[in-house]
């Protein structure tokens, strides 16, 4: 029986197991939305802006492991996805983004709401394609889900011209995929694994460096087992945090420009850096020529192009993290291998654990209300939760102080660093995990980039707790301006008004009233809001939020505008050259 393209679309989504679709209608997508109206297997979520829409799909995908699905109209609907596509691409998040398109015969004519979205997104997604024949539609949708979710996951764009949507054609949806140019690696080279294991056994100062790949592969249990079996200390990137419980004895913290002392010094001093699922981004390496320069480097990654891209690697292994770790555990199980340098290794571990104890992460400011204290309350109060950050100081503090384990997950835009990500991604996470406590942590800057989603959270009755660390500044840039730009706070003060003196250099000054009033804003959206200015009110605010089970609660924490993120590796320096605080 012949069916319309739109009917095939709905059928395909159901076959792919899609239960939630993030959509925003428009002229070239109206047929698709009409077809969705007839079914009840897929819940269609209507955010208030397409950028927030794709971040919500991203948060849904990261927190559930399923593919996030977006549907928007052509032109502006499609271009509003661009930042979210790049965000997902950087952090390897599986998304399929369907965009309406003008009919084939109008494409290229500068038709109303026409944009070459495949051309626009070509460099920032895993795959982008326009469906040009109705007969190709089922295969292309099948391939889109397959490409998005296999190998190194990523976003796929499928552009659907209106006439393809309306055209009658096959109702068959394929069950198999065969793409000749895309064969994700499903095996692991055992010779390389054995070589890596031997290095691991023979090293005097071995260290695990774990990136987001281990979390994406859900290899947390295996990773913990490997650490415990080998007794090798472990550090993570921001995206890798949680690969092992952050409370684990052998966990030294995050590496990088705001990493912990122990982690950054460990990587500088180790003689074997055993890295899994990281791409050695410049945020973690510092000066690359000095990075782990005494170490032999083993690198396991599912993406061959991530190996030896930034840092030359001695033993490359292209494999899925889980498969690789399981193989390592297998080899360790079967062979009793000698550890020749037992006492050196004990000494190494002792040294690192000593550093961890001597230089714990703590904010310089210890009195009054601080982000650190708020985060410590979250650690204590919400064992089973998903924490979603925005970008900036709020993110850095969270990645420093939040404790993660199998019950508490962190979502953050680590690669692209997209402000405005946090709140909508938290909505998506809440939709995918209705039983979990979802907490979005933002600054006053980032929250305002997708503040309109208050309406979505209210109408969907999502009990997201939205923490706004309000320091009245774009704090991370302000910190840099304070340290490296002579306190010239160019375009970072959010209290600034036209009547202010232009070159105000004083965050302490008595300033104009902050706008908006976040508590009143919450109320105007029919949500709850509370402002906290004192340390002793932190717990009460969370108790207030916990009572609101039918909608979002904003907790605005008024924090010191001068609070900075420490420690910090100044740009261009080596990792062990850290400013602890000043």
């Amino acid at each position: 029986m012949a069916i319309k393209g739109t009917e095939l679309f709905v059928k395909a989504l159901i076959e792919e197991g899609v239960d939630t679709l993030f959509g925003y209608p428009g002229g070239q997508a109206i047929d698709l939305f009409d077809a969705l109206y007839d079914q009840d297997k897929i819940e269609v979520i209507l955010p208030r802006h397409e950028q927030a829409l794709i971040h919500a799909a991203d948060g849904y995908a990261r927190s559930t492991g399923k593919v996030g699905v977006c549907l928007v109209t052509s032109g502006p609907g499609a271009t509003n996805l661009v930042t979210g596509i790049a965000t997902a691409n950087y952090d390897s998040v599986p998304l399929v983004c369907f965009t309406g398109q003008v009919p084939l015969n109008l494409m290229g004519n500068d038709a109303f709401q026409e944009v070459d979205i495949v051309g626009v997104t070509r460099g920032i997604c895993k795959y982008a394609v326009t469906v040009r024949k109705r007969e190709d539609l089922p295969r292309i949708i099948k391939e889109a889900f397959y490409i998005a979710s296999t190998g190194r996951p990523g976003p796929v764009v499928v552009d659907l011209p209106k006439d393809i949507q309306q055209e009658m054609g096959t109702e068959e949806y394929p069950t198999m995929v065969n793409i000749r140019g895309y064969k994700p690696n499903a095996a692991v080279n055992m010779r390389q694994i054995k070589k890596a294991v031997r290095l691991l056994q023979e090293a005097k100062k071995p260290l695990f460096l774990i990136g987001g790949g281990v979390n994406i592969a859900h290899a947390n249990k295996e990773m913990t087992k490997l650490v415990e079996k080998t007794n090798v200390p472990i550090i993570t990137t921001i995206m890798g945090k949680g690969a092992i419980s952050s409370q684990h004895k052998m966990y030294l913290g995050n590496i990088g420009i705001h990493g912990s002392y122990a982690a950054n010094h460990a990587v500088t001093d180790c003689d074997l850096l055993f890295s899994i699922g990281t791409r050695f981004n410049d945020r973690i390496t510092g000066k690359t020529s000095e990075f782990a320069k005494n170490a032999t480097i083993v690198h396991i990654d599912v993406d061959a192009a991530s190996i030896s891209k930034n840092i030359a690697v001695d033993v490359p292994i292209v494999a899925d993290a889980k498969l690789a770790i399981e193989s390592i555990l297998d080899v360790l199980q079967k062979k009793t291998m000698e550890v020749p340098y037992v006492s050196e290794r004990e000494e190494w571990v002792k040294q690192l654990l000593g550093w961890k104890q001597k230089y714990p992460l703590r904010m310089k400011q210890q009195k009054g209300l601080t982000p650190e204290k708020v985060l410590r309350v979250i650690n204590k109060r919400y064992k089973d939760s998903i924490i979603v950050t925005d970008v900036g100081q709020n993110q850095l503090w969270t990645t420093q102080y939040i404790d993660l384990d199998e019950n508490r997950q962190l979502l953050t835009s680590g690669g692209l660093g997209t402000m405005g990500y946090g709140f909508p991604a938290a909505m998506g996470a809440q939709l995918g995990n209705p039983e979990k406590r979802v907490i979005a942590i933002s600054g006053d800057g980032g929250f305002q980039m997708n503040i309109q989603e208050m309406a979505t959270a209210v109408v969907l009755e999502l009990p997201v707790i939205l923490i706004v660390f309000n320091n009245g500044y774009l704090g991370n840039v302000r910190q840099w301006q304070e340290l490296y730009f002579n306190k010239r706070y160019s375009s970072t003060c959010l209290r600034y008004r036209k009547s202010c003196e232009r070159d105000c250099m004083n965050p302490d000054k008595c300033c104009p009233k902050y706008t908006p009033d976040f508590v009143k804003l919450a109320e105007s959206y029919d949500a709850k809001g509370i402002r906290v200015e004192k340390e002793e009110d932190i717990e009460k605010a969370f108790a207030f939020a916990d009572e609101n089970k039918k909608g979002p609660t904003i907790i605005e924490f008024i924090i010191d505008p001068k609070a900075n993120v420490w420690p910090m590796v100044p740009a261009g320096n080596t990792l062990d050259n850290m400013i602890m605080d000043c």
């Binding site: 070509r122 460099g123 982008a128 326009t130 140019g181 895309y182 192009a305």
Partner: protein
């Protein structure tokens, strides 16, 4: 690190946008592409590209990996090490030729095995299918002999593994 000339041959899906994807990858990642040719193969669903570039060893490895990563790329063949047959088409048009110039052009054509393929009034068109290096020499020769009077069009290399 030393920059050297390298060649890869790509088997790609013969689809709209694939050429843009490959050239966009080079520009987006700041790889130094020098020439690109593309054409359909014996299988109309597959095109083959020959790409010449200038790069160091590390960048070249990255380029190959990034190309391999594209869903539309079926296979990447490194021609830097393979034994290949490589040719480029070159047209040179020479205008304002005197009788002596014309004789000179025919003599050059004879010596260098070029074809004079068109001849109208005082203008001659020469066609040459040689390696890129040989073509460079031919262009240089014509530039010296007929300064400011020549027009050159080059097709970029196509290459295939030797039989």
């Amino acid at each position: 690190m030393e920059m050297t000339k390298r060649w890869v041959s790509l088997y790609v899906e013969n689809q709209v946008g694939v050429l843009a994807k490959i050239s966009g990858l080079f520009s987006g990642k700041s790889y130094n592409m020098q020439s690109l040719t593309v054409g359909e193969t014996e299988d109309p669903t597959v095109s083959r590209m020959t790409i010449g570039m200038l790069s160091d060893d590390i960048t070249f490895e990255q380029i190959k990996k990034q190309l391999n990563r594209c869903v539309e790329v079926i296979k990447v063949v490194d021609f830097t090490v393979a034994e290949t047959r490589m040719r480029e088409i070159l047209f040179i048009k020479v205008g304002g030729c005197s009788l002596a110039d014309k004789e000179e052009i025919f003599r050059i054509a004879q010596v260098f095995k070029l074809d004079v393929v068109d001849y109208r009034g005082n203008t001659l068109l020469v066609e040459c299918i040689k390696s890129e290096d040989d073509n460079n020499e031919v262009v240089e020769l014509f530039n010296r002999a007929f300064p400011s009077r020549i027009e050159v069009v080059r097709g970029g290399n196509v290459a295939i593994e030797r039989a």
